[in-house]
Amino acid sequence: MEEMIKLTGLKKAFGGVEILKNISFTLPKGNVLSIIGPSGSGKSTTLRIITQLEKADDGNLEIAGHTLFSSVDGKAVYCNPEEERQIGLKTGLVFQSFNLFPHFSVLRNITEAQKAVLHRSREEAEEKAMALLTKMGIAEKAKQYPYQLSGGQQQRVSIARALALDPEVLFFDEPTSALDPELTREILKVIRELAEEKMTMVVVTHEMHFARAISDWAIFMNKGVIVEEGNPDRLFGNPQEERTRQFIASFQD
């Protein structure tokens, strides 16, 4: 199978403190990977490095066959800025806090980057945006502003905004952590549908049942290392490591 993400030996420190110690994983095209782990284990930092919001200190990363950085003498060496940008266009990120643009209408939130970055025409961008909004079940909100929407609707807009650029792989960083249970279900349904369409995704989440149900592979991180990984039924149903067991048990109520 074709690899979408090939990450090896990723290291990252903040102010001398090693946050990521040696992170490696591969993600085949069309697969869904879930990453779980306690607060501060480095899940967000891992996603932020792959989506270029942070720089790696060391390691190798290939996205859809293109090398973003590779390890040379123990240091991550990045490709040139134009290649970085091109690779960036292959990845999309959905934030916990949505980060919609408050001064743009819902529609413009989704069309802006299509026009400014991909140079699509206004008609094309709007058509794409409306199709995505329809798919998200909020086509009637197109003319409204983010503050007029519920958290669940805002998160659906932000997913549509990311999808509008046709990323090859989409990252979710705790997409439901800011939402109440009912709205959480709305968003999980959307992500589940994307998984059924074989969208390649990496999902950081605390929704254990959901992660187990949708993912092809699951990773448990703790203190900057991957403690355990495996197919989700095994990782969630029969974890081998004590730390994993504790963590998963803490979610059973």
């Binding site: 960036g88 266009l89 980060n99 980057a113 400014a116 502003y145």
Partner: protein
């Protein structure tokens, strides 16, 4: 009476010139100063910080006198009063505007920059299309206050002999033993600030379509 009116009109034009020239230069310059105040390069940050502290910590009237007379005492060169007046106003107001911009820039959530980066917007695009519009909305009330102060501050230009409205009114007043010219000047400042504050209300309303 005819002479008085035309004199006062001339003074008004000078006051308006000071007002608009100060805005034209200091509104954009304030952004440069704000950027300097927020830079990671420490020496630049210190210098800019000192400049802002001096501008805010000393009277504008003193700055006017200094800007006009310092070149004379230091280099023996004198120059146009009006130019000196504009320079003093611009460096003073740039400092004040920069602090307003800085508070506005710092109030924008980091997530706005991150979303922009992930969507592939360039830095310039992000600044002009995502960040700046939101900053403007937030700083408009503070900016309005400052612009109103500027209208009144133009009267200080008289300290270095610029014949703006207030000086003209004062001179006419003592010449004719009448407070009428002073009163007329007062009406002008009032109308001017009425227009300014209405303008800001309109702009704030225009930007009220989102939160």
């Amino acid at each position: 009476m005819q002479g008085l009116i035309s004199q006062m009109l001339e003074g008004t034009v000078t006051s308006l010139e000071i007002f608009f020239l100060t805005l034209i230069f200091s509104l954009p310059l304030g952004f440069v100063v704000a950027k300097g105040r927020m830079t990671r390069i420490a020496p630049i940050r210190w210098i800019v910080d000192l400049y802002i502290q001096v501008m805010r910590g000393t009277p504008l009237i003193l700055q006017l006198i200094f800007v006009y007379f310092a070149p004379f005492y230091i280099f023996g060169a004198s120059y146009d009063r009006f130019t000196a007046c504009i320079i003093a106003f611009v460096i003073n107001y740039s400092a004040y505007f920069s602090e307003i911009y800085r508070s506005g820039l710092q109030s924008i959530d980091r997530g706005q920059y991150e979303a922009s980066k992930v969507l592939g917007f360039t830095k310039a695009y992000t600044f002009f299309h995502i960040i700046l519009p939101q900053v403007i909305k937030r700083i408009l009330p503070a900016l309005g206050n400052e612009v109103i102060t500027l209208v009144k501050d133009t009267a200080l230009a008289q300290t270095i002999g610029v014949a703006e409205l207030f000086r003209v009114a004062q001179t006419a007043s003592s010449r004719e033993f009448s407070t009428l010219p002073i009163f007329i000047a007062g009406v002008f400042y009032f109308i001017m600030n009425y227009i300014v504050s209405r303008l800001f209300v309109v702009m704030e309303k225009k930007l009220n379509y989102y939160r």
